[in-house]
Symmetry: C2
Subunit: 183 residues, 2 copies
């Protein structure tokens, strides 16, 4: 199941080139090393601010996750690090993932048992919860603000005398670059 490969050729089509880089689905071909470095830098900052240790392994795991806009499974991370010479046990990957989740720099996609890098700044600081949009074709995951929706879900739950603690909203479908009914 090696999905989400970015076709290494993929010369950016003109129409795509203008995609707003602040869209939840920026053109991944525009993911430069520099942008990745910025993302890592932001994570570093989050760890520092919260007095957590952004260890080498955590950095490596985060870098693998952030290297793609798609979601990625723990064992895929394991394999990619392995190719780069970092051989660790699954448990180590999961421990790093747990720390990254706690820090809020990655999210877990429940419907795929996979993880992706958070590219927003507005909800690591809580109070602005996102909903996840996962592309069935290319695997890309985008986040859009869903605070209003989460509020309504909370109300619906309370209407059933249910006391909500954690809410999940995930959407599977097709991202802008993979179109709709396209084969």
């Amino acid at each position: 199941m090696s999905d989400t490969q970015v076709p290494p050729n993929a010369a950016p089509v003109k129409a795509e080139a203008k995609a707003d880089p602040r869209s939840p689905f920026p053109n991944p071909n525009q993911q430069t090393a520099k942008k990745l470095a910025q993302t890592v830098e932001r994570a570093t900052q989050v760890f520092a601010d919260r007095g957590l240790r952004f260890t080498k392994l955590r950095q490596q795991v985060f870098a693998e996750i952030a290297a793609t806009h798609a979601s990625i499974g723990a064992y895929e991370i394991l394999a990619r690090l392995g190719e780069k010479g970092t051989r660790v046990a699954p448990i180590s990957i999961y421990r790093a993932i747990d720390a990254l989740l706690d820090a809020g720099v990655i999210h877990r996609l429940e419907s795929k048992n996979a993880f992706f890098a958070c590219r927003r700044t507005d909800h690591t600081v809580k109070g602005k919860r996102p909903i996840f949009l996962s592309c069935e074709k290319c695997g890309a995951v985008g986040e859009v603000d869903g605070q209003h929706i989460f509020d309504l879900i909370g109300e619906a739950a309370k209407g059933a005398k249910f006391n909500p603690r954690v809410k999940f909203v995930e959407v599977s479908g097709f991202c802008p670059r993979c179109a709709t009914g396209e084969t």
Copy 2:
């Protein structure tokens, strides 16, 4: 994890007896053999109406799922059927589950990799999608209508030029009978 067994005797306690049976969280002690039979009967009807085969194994698997208001994992079903003398391979359980999901008589709880019986009639006929409320203490799962919320999620997705296909909303928390901060 043998939770939520319905004590076959279960004399209804007075204080609990007044819970509205149409609530998403009816008192499971009131789950009589008769009610279970009704639930199975409803599933039978759905299969008949849609020209699908409600085979013996599917009935058995459905009965196990419907025997509790909690969600239940595939291997837990496997074990319970085993205790009753029906020894099958995991794949057979999963095949039955797939058929039950297709028929809409059970749902999958993505956040727990588990399944629960649908006890509503209004969304097996589509157009009235439910959100799932899963209790962290007793495991009970309730459904409440969420069509409005799903509509908003669809709009949020389209706002990001994302074409939604499948959506889910799950809430983890505490059901009315397990209270809030209660130890």
